[in-house]
Every structure is written in C-alpha cells, then in structure tokens.
C-alpha cells in the first residue's frame, strides 16, 4: 500500500473507533473498556500515520459529487504526512493521559467525540480536496463544541473567569455550555465565509480539488482581478482559518474554551485543531502567492493585512497573559499568541512572494509548539487536579510536591519562552525571520511580543512552583504515572527536538519546498536576547517585588490592568454591539412586529368582516324574488368572467 492508502486507513480507523465507542456506550460497557478500546484505536491510527510517512507521497481520489467537481481525495505529500504524524502521535499520548484524567463520568461521550475529533483532524490534514477537507474541518469544530461543554451541567470548578466580575456590565465569567456555544458560533461564522470562497473557486474552475486550484492559479487570479475581487476573495477564503486559529477578534472563543477538560484543551485547543487554520494557510498561502504575483494577479495587500492582524493578535493576547490569574487561561492566551507567530510568518512570507520561507517558519513553529504546549497543558491539568483550583495565586511551592511535573513544565516552558537550545528557540527565530522578510517593523513587533512571552511564562512558573503557598492543601502528591508519563515525555521531546534541530529542519524545509536556511548567529541574536530579557523578569518576583501592589496603588495602572485583565474589552464590545442588540431585536420582533401584524390580520380585519357580515345579513330578507335577482346577477357575473377568460387569454 502507498502513503495515501495508509493515510486513509488512519482516518477510517479513527471514525470506526468513534462508532465503536458510541456502541459500547449504548451497550453500557464499563468505562475502562470504552477508554482502552478507544486508546487501542488511536494506537492503530498513529501506527498507520507513521507507516504512511514511511511509504512516501501519493494521491488517492474517488469521485464523490460529480456535479460540483468534488472528489473524496487523499493527498499524501510531505506536508500532510508530517502533520498527520504529529496529530496522531499527540492524540495517542493525550489519549493515554485522558484515561485517568476523565475517569468514569461521561466517558462514552468523551471517547466518542475524542476519536471522532482525531479522525476528522486527520481527514482535514490528508484531504486533497477542499470539500473533503471541509468535512474534517467541521467535524473538528463539532467535537470541539461538544468537548468544551463536556461538563454541561455547568459546575463551577470548570468555569473560566472570575464569578461576579463584569466589564462594561458584561459578565466576564463563562460556563462550559456558554463557552461551547461561543466556540461553534465564532468558528462557524468564518466557515460560511470560507465556503463562499470555495464556491468562487468552483465557479471559476469547476472543481474543488486543491491540485486543480494549484495548476490553474494564474487563470483563477486573472479572473478574480478582472472582477476586482481578488483581495476580498483572499479574505473570504481565509476567514475560516482566521476563526479557527483564533485571530483577533475571533480569539475570544479560544480563551473561554478552557472550560473543557484539560486533555481537550491540550489536544484540541493547543496542539491540533487550532492549528487547522495554520495548516490551511501552509497549504494554500504558497498557491495563492503564485496567483497574487502572477502577471494578472492582485491581492497582495490582503496578505499584508493578514500578517499585521497576526501581529496584533500575538501582541494583544501576550499582554493579556501577563496579568491572567488562571493557569489554563494563561496558556490559552499564549496559544493564540503563538498561533499568530505561525500565521504572521506564513502571510508575511506570501506577501513578498517568499511563501516557502514563510511556510518554513510557520510549520517549524507549529511542530515545536504542538509538543511544548501539549506538555504545558497536561501538566496544568495535573496541577489543577491536585490543588482543586484554577487560579495561580492559590498555588505555590508545588516544586516540593510535584517535582516531575515541575521538570516537565520547566522544559516545556523554556521552549515556549524560546530559550536556547530548546525547540521553541529555533522555530520562533525562523518565524520572526520570515516576518522580517516583509517588514522590519513586523519583526520588531514580534520581538517585543517575545519579551512578553518570556515574562508571562516565567511568571506562571514562579507562581505555581516557587511562590510561597497561600492556601494549605491536603494530600498534595505527584500525578498518576499514566498522566505524568505523557507530559514528561513531551517535555523531554521539547528539549530533544531542540538538540537535534539542525537534522530535523531540512525535513521541514523539504515538506514546504523551502531551500535550506542557515540563520547566522547574528540572525538569531535579537530573538535570543528578547527571550532572555523576558525570562529574566522573573528575578523581580524572587526579589520579593509584587507588581500587583503597584497596580493597587496607582489608578492609571489599575485602569491598564483592568484593560488587560478584561481582554482589551473585546468581549464587552462584541456583547454590547452584537449579542445584546440581537437578543433585544429578537424580543422586539416577537412582541411588537409579529404580535402587531398577527393582531391586524387575525383580529382587526376579521372583526371588520364581522360588522360587514351583519350588513350582509340584512340583505337576507327572506324575500324569494330578491334571492332570484341575486342569483341571476351572480350567473351574469360568472358568464362575464368566463367570456373574458375565453376571449382574452385563450
């Protein structure tokens, strides 16, 4: 079998086991049976993904819907094969962690959506057709919705935000069911735009195949340019990716998605699904750059705008992470920020016709981030589980009680902070380098964000592991080996990847068709300095300085703090501008328009008829001659109408 067949096998295995999990649940099997059966399925899926990588590139295609030019096709190229391995392997490791972490409550539902997610994500990655990709894409969104609201009874320990806190009178705490709704609405909004974008491709080329788009990209862009919609089409086409990968202001759904179980946050909202938008950009940005820079191409300005949007997102979410008090929320902000590095690199590269270079930065950072962020989340899950609080100021001194968790967090955290020689150091420099190809200012913005990244990472580690413990906890202990194993492995991988990076990078470069890039020491220096500068801010905590005390004393600092803590008021703006007016409109339509109209038609007009009918009744005198007269008048009228119809319409 060739690569594509194995890839397909990997996808179908995932779907099969999701059905099995469902049936086991229906048969009321023991929760451990459901869990381990699913893990077995994930193991098979992962195995097939690795075999696919070893088997090499190939394509498989079956006609699905001829009239739309839709094929169910698998495109196993270097990019998808590597991505598939990353996705499947992480799913397996996080799956193993989940067995203990999830336990009994809701197990069949969890494992159904978990395996359904993995299969959908793999389909999204391997698909060679936009619609086939869309099927996987929506599947991941549905699973994301279901798993964010996994604790659908809205128990308080899984809320995000401080209960009771409001910003501009908008509540700033979120229940699991509310967060799930936000996620599916935000992402679905982008998806409809994306679908319209696909529709334009279909309208011009009569196909939704990625290869066809690639091969006819010049004609396609010539057509768009002729109609003056090239830039707008690029926006539509990427709208789904922007929503999925949490670009400003869509990042709102991602931060509240932390109501889901931490294993879900690790897999779906850090390592894989939110990368779908990045992967999509990796896939399409080089193709679109070809079209944009073709003789009749236009639309580069939109790519530039998207690169700047990425920087805005990276910076904004990093500033929010600096002040956040919830462990998972810090990591969520950080995820949005790091995703933006990837997208920023990809769009900036494409905007200057250096798409391969941008893809290199984006893909490298995608892989290293997947590893270290998954480790951080899984460790966070164990920590929150141990201390029964999601707030970092309830933690502290955990170094003593959870030493291995500490090691894993340090390894992964240093990678996030981009400290040499961790994998994040290499990949972030590649991403910043690509941004610099387009604009030095963009790169400088990314470096400033890197300082913030180092600072919030270290702040988090300090509060969790070093700070004096404020609250006494009973029975603090290291995590269960089945939970610890995966994240310790991932933490070590973050270091290991960094150590062997020079041997890995050529493969990544090959996957995105980039020439091998040797960044000189001078290229690496600014990024390294930024990271070290950021990380060294942790010193102030060890010196006993508490920046929060300055905030308490100064009104202007307090305003800034609230601005950051309440997420730049983006959430409040969205609710005040769209959600609340929408709800008001709905009630107004119900109580005024619909009700008024209903009364007019069903009460007022029939009422008028009743009074008219009284008059008509007076005609009913009982006089036979009068009746005869009415009768003949009626016949005459009917005859006239018939004559009219026969004469003039025949």
């Amino acid at each position: 079998m060739d690569g594509a067949s194995w890839a397909l096998a990997s996808v179908l295995t995932g779907y099969t086991f999701s059905v099995i999990a469902l049936l086991l649940g229906a048969a009321e099997a023991r929760w451990k049976t459901v869990a381990w059966t699913s893990v077995a399925g994930l193991t098979l899926s992962t195995l097939f993904a690795w075999i696919a990588l070893a088997s090499g590139e190939s394509v498989l295609s079956y006609t699905w819907v001829k009239s739309l030019g839709v094929h169910f096709s698998i495109m196993a190229d270097k990019l998808s094969l590597i991505m598939g391995v990353v996705v499947a392997t992480l799913s397996l490791m996080i799956g193993i962690y989940s067995v203990e972490y999830i336990g009994e409550w809701g197990a069949p539902r969890y494992w159904f959506f978990y395996t359904f997610f993995v299969a959908s994500m793999l389909l999204l990655v391997y698909a060679g057709d936009m619609v086939a990709m869309f099927v996987g894409w929506e599947g991941t969104g549905l699973s994301s919705w279901a798993l964010i609201s996994f604790y659908y009874d809205d128990r308080e320990e899984f809320w995000v935000g401080d209960p009771g806190r409001k910003a501009w009178k908008v509540p700033m705490w979120f229940t699991p069911s509310h967060s799930g709704l936000r996620a599916i609405v935000f992402t679905r909004l982008g998806d409809v735009g994306m679908l319209i974008g696909f529709g334009v491709v279909y309208a011009v080329l009569g196909s939704t195949s990625i290869a066809v788009l690639h091969n006819h990209i010049y004609e396609f862009f010539a057509e768009l340019t002729l109609r003056g919609i090239a830039a707008y089409w690029i926006l539509l086409f990427f709208l789904g990716a922007l929503a999925k990968s949490a670009q400003f202001p869509f990042h709102e759904w991602l931060v509240t998605a932390m109501t889901g179980p931490t294993s879900v946050s690790a897999l779906i909202h850090a390592a894989t699904m939110v990368k779908a938008g990045v992967f999509y950009a990796l896939r399409f940005a080089p193709i679109i750059a070809l079209g944009v820079f073709a003789p009749f191409g236009t639309g580069a300005s939109m790519l530039e705008a998207l690169a700047w949007l990425a920087l805005l997102t990276a910076f904004a979410t990093a500033t929010m992470a600096i002040v956040a008090r919830e462990l998972k929320l810090i990591l969520a902000y950080s995820t949005a920020s790091q995703l933006s590095y990837m997208l920023g690199a990809i769009f900036a590269g494409a905007a200057v016709n250096e798409a391969a270079l941008g893809d290199l930065g984006g893909f490298a950072h995608l892989i290293s981030h997947a590893v270290f962020k998954a480790a951080l989340f899984l460790a966070a899950g164990a920590i929150i589980h141990a201390v029964h609080s999601r707030f970092i100021d309830d933690m502290g001194e955990l170094k003593k009680y959870m030493p291995w968790t500490y090691v894993a967090t340090i390894l992964a955290g240093l990678s996030l902070a981009a400290i040499p020689p961790f994998s994040g150091w290499w990949s972030k420099d590649l991403a910043v380098h690509a941004m610099g190809e387009y604009s030095e200012w963009l790169a400088i913005g990314a470096l400033i964000t890197a300082v913030l990244t180092g600072a919030y990472t270290m702040r988090m580690i300090y509060y969790v592991f070093h700070a004096p413990m404020r609250k006494k906890h009973e029975h603090l202990h290291e995590a269960h080996p089945l939970m610890l194993g995966p994240y310790l492995t991932l933490g070590l991988t973050a270091l290991g990847l960094g150590l062997v990076w020079p041997w890995i990078e050529p493969h990544i470069a090959e996957a995105v068709g980039a020439p091998e890039l040797h960044l000189s020491a001078m290229d690496m220096l600014p990024g390294t300095l930024a990271a070290i500068l950021g990380a060294s801010t942790v010193a102030i905590y060890f010196m006993g300085i508490r920046p929060i005390e300055w905030v308490e004393r100064s009104a202007s600092l307090r305003a800034l703090y609230n601005f950051l803590y309440d997420r730049w008021y983006v959430n409040s703006v969205i609710y005040r501008l769209i959600v609340y007016p929408g709800a008001w409109l709905s009630r107004w339509l119900r109580d005024s328009v619909e009700k008024g109209y209903d009364e007019l038609i069903h009460v007022a007009i029939p009422g008028a008829n009743v009074s008219m009918s009284r008059k008509v009744r007076e005609l009913q005198s009982g006089d036979l001659q009068m009746y005869m007269a009415y009768f003949f008048m009626g016949i005459l009228l009917a005859a006239l109408i018939s004559a009219f119809v026969i004469l003039f319409t025949g």
Partner: protein, 502 residues
C-alpha cells in the same frame, strides 16, 4: 432533452393509491386495534416505497423521466398524469420515507394524545393521515398544475381536520386560520395558472413545458400563492399557529414536507413558466429570502414553546429554499431541492423530539427544561442531528444542500462587482450563522446547564418507541451524506437540461 421511459405498469398511480386505499380500510375498520391500524398505514407506505424503489433507481441511475402509462389528454387542461424525473424523484422519496416513519411514530404518540383528550380514534386519525400524506406524494408526482392543485387540496382538508380534531390550544380557530390562509394561497396559484392558460409541467411524448409566459400578473399570482404555502416572510402568519398546535406527528409532516412543496412548485411553474421574469426578479426574491431567513431565525431565539420555536425555524428554512430558487442557476436550484430533503429529515427529527418531550415530560415550555442530556441522551442525540441537518454540518446531508446553495450563490454574486459581492456575502454569512446560533442556543437551553423543574422526573422510558422510529431518520441523514452523489448529480444535470440553467 431527457429520455422518456414509459412504465409498463401504472406504478406511480399505484404508489399514490395504495396509501389512499389503506386509509379507507382504516376508516372502515373502526373496531380494529391500534396495532392493526398502524400496520395498515405503515404497511401501505412500505408497499409504496417498494413500488417506488425500482423507479427511483432507474430515474437516478439512468437520468430518465419515468412516465406513468395512465394519463389523460384533455382539451383545455392539458395532460393529466404522473411523472418522475430526478427532481420529483427526490421529492417523492422524501415524502414517502418521512410519511412511513411518522406513521410508525404516530401510534404511540396518538395513544398518548387520545389518553390525554379522553377520546380519539385511530381509525379516523389514520384515515386522515393517509389522505394527507398520499396527497403530498401525488402533488410532487403530478405532471400538470391542475392535478397538482387537486392533490394539494386533498392534503388540505384532512390536515386541517387533524388539527381541529386532535390539535392543541384553540384548535378549531387554528384549523380555520390554517385552512383559510393556505387555501387562499392555493387558489391564487391556480388562478395564476389560469391566466397563463397552460397547465402542463411535462407532457408525455413531447417533453417539458418551459418559458411560456411573460404575464406579470400571472407571475405574481403564482409567486404569491406558492409563497403563502411556503410561509415566506410576511405571508407566514398562519404557520406558527398551525405547526405549533397540530398534533405533533402532523407537525412533523406539515413543517418539512408540505410547505416545501410550495418551493417545489415554484421551480416547476415559477422558473419553468416565467424564466425571463424570474431572472428579472432575482435580486428581489433573493432579498426576500434573506429577510425570511433572518426574520424567522430571530424569532426562534425568543420563543419559549418548543413547537412554536421549531415552527419559526421552518419559516427561516423556507428562506433557504427561496435563496436557492431565486438565484436560478443549476447549483442553487439543486441546493433548494436537496434542502427540501435536508429539512424533511431535520424538521421531522426535531418535531419528533418535541413529541418526545410532550409524552415523556408533559411540557413544551423551554423554561421547564435544562440539563436534560443526562436523563435523555438518545433524545439529545436525535435533536443534535436534527440541528446539524438544518445548520449544514457534516456528517449529515445538510452539508450538501448548504454547499450547493452557497456555491450557487458564489457563482451568481461574484458577477456584480466588489461592493455588491461584499454586501451579499455579509447577508448570507449573517443569515446562515443565525441558524447555527439558534440551533445550538436551543440545544443548550434544553439539554445543558443545571436541571430545570422537570429534570428530576425526566426519563426516556415512556417515549422509547417514539425514539426508536426517529433513530431511523438519524441514520438516513448520515447515509444520504455519504451517497449524495447518486441523487444530487442527476438533479443538477436536470436543472441544466430542463430549465437551461447554467
């Protein structure tokens, strides 16, 4: 031109007559048990499905027009007969499948309803049920507007009676409102056809009748008449009453099956007869579609009664149908017809779920619900798939109808320059996202959150047989997703050849 295939036996007539005959048997067997009645009714639909199956297979596979050998040529009303091309095949399949399943669903539900009312007769119920559903099948197979109209009237009286006899609330008044509104709609439609003076959609041996009229008055009559039937925005007032207060199995037929037939006839008579006027009207019809989607969708959000909520959702869904119809290219029209099937499955599921609540919880009020997923997981799964269908999420066939609609839209809208394109896309994104918003908001209100007042007592046990029949619809929604090419491709091909749509 499509190849015509005259059937050796009057299978199409038989498929319509078998349920009608069964209905009369139901009516005469007044002493028979519940099981006998449901056996006769569902059995007749099983026979109809078996009769239709080979014809459907032939029509879809070979892309031909199957014509029933029993047709009558008249001098003034054209040729009265039944025919089946891929378009009407898809409609007929939807009607037959849903009628079959709801016939099964009816038995336990109506038993509950009769018990609640203190009286009621399966004999009467199934008699009316059979006439109603067979009328719909006849309407979508009719090759001629007169025959179509007669079948439509056949649906009207029984369905109104079902509301009056077994409905909820002020059921006599509701039945009257329903009767008057939709009867006026049907009459306006047929007057429009009389103004044109032609009635045939398809003439055996000759082919399709298209592009025969430029009369604005006739166009408006046909459009308005069919739109009343569809409950398009502004003409929708009767629908929330009828669909909310009808006995729930009847809601599950009225909502997805009957109103969509208005959309179907707009394809045959509207686009088919008035091609050029229709293209001129496209922007207006498109806006009307958007208004309907938004108006219905916004009203869903503030409903408390779950059946009324689904009724407003149906109005919004008719906007989807009109969206496809208005654009008048092959993809969008195919999307409209596919969306009929999507909505048939989806809304039958959702009204079915509403019935589960009525039987198991004794309430329709969302304020009483909440947190029900724990107590009613199967109902939750059914509702989720129903919402996924109307929201266009895979792996349900809703994705495909939405895909066709959107692709048709893109093809049309990108031709009007940048700013029109921007404005039109914003409208479509807003109205389609609204469906997701109200679907998942409703799901949250019913199944998520802390338990509501009925939570403690909630159980699926009293509604097991209802749930079992609905599971069939759920499975079909997924099967159709996979094999959609079998149906969609011939339909799309037809749109191009018959109506010269590009």
């Amino acid at each position: 031109m499509l190849t015509e295939y005259v059937l050796g036996y009057p299978i199409l007539w038989a498929s319509v007559l078998v349920p009608i005959i069964a209905g009369f048997i139901n009516a005469s067997a007044r002493r028979a048990s519940k099981a006998t009645h449901v056996g006769i009714a569902a059995g007749s639909w099983a026979v109809t499905l078996a009769l239709l199956a080979p014809v459907l297979a032939k029509v879809f596979r070979d892309n031909v027009v199957a014509v029933d050998p029993w047709y009558a040529r008249t001098s003034s009303f054209g040729t009265l007969g039944l025919f089946m091309d891929p378009i009407s095949a898809l409609m007929a399949m939807s009607v037959a499948v849903v009628s079959f399943i709801i016939a099964l669903y009816s038995a336990p539900y109506m038993e509950h309803r009769f018990h609640e009312m203190g009286s009621g007769s399966f004999s009467t119920y199934y008699f009316l049920y059979q006439l109603f559903t067979a009328g719909m099948l006849g309407a979508v197979l009719a090759s001629n507007a007169i025959l179509f109209y007669l079948f439509l009237e056949l649906t009207l009286i029984p369905s109104a009676l079902l509301i009056v006899l077994y409905g909820y609330g002020d059921r006599f008044k509701v039945g009257l409102i329903y009767l008057i509104w939709t009867h006026v709609g049907a009459v306006l439609f047929i007057i429009g056809m009389f103004v044109v003076g032609r009635f045939d959609f398809y003439v055996p041996g000759t082919g399709y009748v298209t592009g025969v009229s430029h009369s604005l008055a006739a166009f408006l009559l046909v459009l308005i008449g069919a739109s009343v039937k569809m409950a398009m925005g502004g003409l929708h007032l009767w629908l929330p009453y009828a669909h909310a207060e009808a006995p729930t199995p009847i809601s599950a037929l009225l909502s997805p099956l009957l109103i969509g037939i208005g959309g179907y006839v707009l394809l045959r008579a509207g686009i088919g007869y008035f091609g050029s006027l229709w293209s001129e009207a496209t922007p207006w019809l498109f806006l009307w579609a958007i208004v309907t989607m938004l108006y219905g969708g916004f009203l869903v959000l503030s409903q408390r009664d779950i059946k009324r909520l689904f009724a407003y959702s149906s109005i919004s869904q008719m906007g989807y149908l009109m969206l496809g119809l208005s654009i008048a290219n092959a993809e969008a029209e195919t999307g409209a017809i596919l969306h009929y099937l999507t909505h048939a499955l989806g809304k039958a599921l959702l009204f079915g779920v509403a019935g589960v609540f009525i039987v198991a919880l004794g309430t329709r009020d969302l304020g009483n619900m909440g947190g029900l997923l724990r107590k009613m997981p199967y109902t939750g799964a059914l509702a989720l798939v129903g919402f996924m269908l109307i929201s266009g999420l895979p792996p349900t066939m809703g994705m495909w109808s939405e895909l066709y609609l959107v692709f048709g839209f893109s093809k049309w809208a990108m031709g009007y320059g940048l700013w029109s394109f921007v404005a039109l896309t914003v409208l479509v994104i807003a109205s389609m996202t609204l469906t997701v918003i109200y679907s998942f908001t409703t799901f949250k209100r019913v199944f998520y959150g802390p338990g509501g007042p009925v939570y403690e007592e909630a159980s699926e046990k009293p509604a097991r047989s209802l749930i079992a029949s609905l599971l069939v619809l759920l499975v079909l929604a997924i099967i159709f997703f996979i094999v959609i090419g079998w149906f969609a491709d011939p339909v799309a091909q037809n749109m191009k050849t018959i109506y010269a749509l590009r």
